[in-house]
């Protein structure tokens, strides 16, 4: 009899536990994060993870849902991105994808996700084409690079009063998109392009011939459209070869590493157009920067902030009922909130086109904001 009594008691306890677990358990959702963790883009993978960790902590302690991130390395190579996209799409537990990082990789992955009704929210890919392919699953947390490059061209023409530019871009969808936008707008305004060259990202490292070529032209500004690795080497080569023109670039060069590799002496006066500035006085931005500084004791660049906003956008959509791949596709476009990088609100193309583009320059070896 005693055994029966214990058995009965334990069954009740177990059942009670099961019930209470069911009540307490929050739904768990998996989100795929494909981006470069090796190769030249590895530094971006690392800082993106830092931003994601802060966001994940906030979302999971809020307690409405629980999010688990599944990281995949696409090595910034489009062919690998397509493979990763297939793996993520096949995994039925993955509800959304936050990525890819590089425009070329996003372009390779997007059609694959579209076939599987999987939301792809890219935090950093700026190539215009990405949201103009007629795929309704593609979103991005930033504006397109034609907006940024047009503003850059206007700035060079109006504010710097420069009429001749030398342009160098990385030979990728990202670099080419920025360069085409800049050249179109600059020529429309009446400026002329003295030279236009490209380099292979992750491969070309010797830019002395490039600068030697630019030096023979009459350009008054050097427009570098790529990420910090090559942009800083180009700036450094320009300094070494005595090519004294101002350097201007996109968000890729707003990075402390740029100062270190290009050396503060040659980086002085360089201008960056970016969606994220540590000087920006917005409350949400400053709150994120404070959290980031406490966690990692350094200043964030734009990438972790974009990933922070990206994962929050997806989490909000899930909380509002986007609990399956299909439902998420319906709810994500309606999301609107103030994030670390400004207003997160998707327009009819699924771009955050209302985001403010900011300008920074290197002054006394530090990035500081340029007032409007």
């Amino acid at each position: 009899m005693r055994i029966g009594k214990y058995l009965f008691l334990s069954i009740i306890i177990i059942m009670g536990l099961l019930v209470s677990f069911n009540v307490l358990a929050v739904e768990k959702y998996k989100i795929g994060v494909p981006m470069p963790f090796t190769g030249d883009g590895a530094m971006y993978g690392e800082v993106a993870k830092e931003g994601l960790r802060i966001a994940l902590n906030e979302i999971n302690t809020r307690g409405n849902i629980e999010i688990e991130l599944v990281y995949h390395d696409d090595e910034a190579i489009p062919a690998n991105a397509a493979i990763v996209a297939n793996r993520l799409s096949m995994d039925k537990d993955i509800i959304a994808v936050l990525g890819h990082f590089n425009s070329s990789c996003s372009l390779a992955g997007a059609p694959v996700y579209a076939e599987h009704n999987l939301v792809m929210l890219s935090p950093c890919s700026s190539a215009l084409k990405l949201t103009r392919m007629g795929l309704n699953n593609v979103f991005r947390i930033i504006a397109t690079d034609d907006i940024l490059s047009k503003q850059m061209a206007d700035f060079v023409w109006d504010r710097l009063d420069i009429k001749k530019a030398a342009v160098v871009c990385e030979n990728s969808d990202f670099g080419r998109g920025l360069a085409n936008g800049f050249i179109d707008q600059f020529e429309k305004r009446g400026g002329s392009i003295s030279a236009f060259e490209t380099y292979v990202p992750n491969v070309d490292k010797d830019f002395n011939p490039l600068i030697t070529k630019f030096k023979a032209t009459d350009a008054e500004i050097l427009v570098v459209l790529g990420v910090y690795v090559e942009a800083s080497l180009i700036t450094r080569a320009a300094g070494n070869l005595g090519y004294k023109v101002p350097v201007i670039g996109g968000s890729g060069i707003y990075n402390p590493e740029f100062l270190e590799i290009a050396t503060p002496e040659f980086a002085e006066g360089a201008i960056s157009f970016t969606y994220f500035l540590t000087d920006y006085p917005d409350l949400e931005t400053q709150r994120f920067i404070e959290l980031y500084r406490t966690a990692y004791s350094k200043d964030p660049i734009d990438v972790p902030a974009n990933y922070y906003d990206g994962i929050h956008a997806i989490a909000r959509a899930i909380e509002l009922g986007g609990t399956t791949r299909e439902k998420l596709l319906e709810i994500l476009p309606t999301i609107e909130f103030k994030g670390a990088t400004g207003l997160i609100k998707f327009d009819e193309n699924h771009d955050c086109s209302e985001k403010i583009i900011m300008k920074a320059t290197v002054k006394d070896g530090n990035w500081v904001a340029i007032p409007d």
Binding site: T38, A42, P209, T212, K213, K215, G242
Partner: protein, 296 residues
């Protein structure tokens, strides 16, 4: 040609020569191993990359310039000989394709190990060699580093020529390269000679790695692989297996690249380099210095 475009031309030549010497420096070690052992050592580039990382770590630990280089030479030598003993020696009698594939696997292993130890993002190499540009006039500038690369390449070239031609060990190496079995019969310890060749090749790789890391400023795990593509092209162009061919091929490729980038287009420089390679191989199938054409 007016004065400005002349000095521009001189600058382009200097750029090309220093790039070319970088390729030649790698190609000398790469081509030497091929010339003697008839085996493409795909791991050569990884060894020079490894050497650069070792030198980086030594410099970060505040070791002096020379002790850092020596440390890097030592580690690369040990790595080269170990790889030879463990991965290539058991395959000496196998078909020619087997050791080449093993070399690729070894290259992958070394690259992954470097990624695990030092991480995969690019690292800035401490600037230990004074690299303030020497200014001739506003349009001609060169770095002391460019000249040290050219200088070291010439020293290595001359030293290797002397080593192979006039020393006892050089003669033994040439004997092994011509016919290993007969060399055995003549009392030459061929296994030892092969090890020495790898040791020497790895040391050359370490020197190249140190200079190139200084020249490119950045260290990244793919630098070895990318370096060997150009170096291999240089070796083929100059005549495979020929020491002087590697140097001449490297210089030629550097010059073609520099002139193509400056006077034609940066985007098509690789196309132009390979067009030059194809033309030269069509006219001289064994390369500029008539290397071992029949075996390529």
């Amino acid at each position: 040609m007016d004065n400005t475009s002349l000095s521009h031309f001189v600058q382009v030549t200097i750029n090309g020569l220093s790039m070319g010497c970088v390729y030649a420096l790698v190609a000398v070690g790469y081509g030497m191993v091929y010339g003697i052992l008839n085996m493409i050592n795909f791991a050569h580039g990884e060894i020079y990359m490894f050497g650069a990382y070792i030198a980086y770590s030594a410099l970060v630990c505040k070791m002096g310039l020379f002790s850092s280089i020596l440390l890097s030479l030592f580690f690369c030598g040990v790595l080269g000989v170990t790889v030879e003993r463990l991965a290539y020696k058991p395959l000496r009698e196998a078909s020619r394709i087997a050791p080449a594939l093993t070399a690729m696997a070894v290259a992958l292993l070394i690259r992954s190990a470097v990624m695990i130890i030092w991480g995969s993002s690019p690292i800035m190499f401490p600037q230990v060699i004074n690299n303030k540009p020497i200014i001739l006039n506003n349009n001609i500038r060169f770095y002391p580093l460019q000249f040290s690369i050219i200088f070291v390449t010439i020293v290595i070239w001359v030293f290797s020529l002397w080593l192979f031609k006039y020393t006892k060990i050089g003669k033994a190496i040439r004997a092994v390269s011509q016919d290993r079995n007969t060399a055995w019969l003549m009392g030459i310890d061929a296994d030892k000679i092969v090890s020495i060749v790898y040791l020497y090749g790895s040391i050359l790789a370490a020197i190249a790695g140190f200079l190139i890391a200084n020249y490119y400023i950045l260290l990244f795990p793919l630098m070895g692989f990318l370096g060997t593509i150009r170096a291999w092209t240089a070796a083929v162009l100059g005549g495979i297996g020929k020491l002087s061919g590697a140097v001449i091929g490297g210089l030629l490729i550097g010059l073609v690249e520099s002139f193509a980038m400056t006077y034609i287009s940066t985007a098509y420089k690789d196309v132009i380099i390979f067009i030059v390679l194809i033309i030269i191989l069509l006219v001289m199938p064994r390369g500029l210095l008539k290397g071992r054409g029949q075996k390529v």
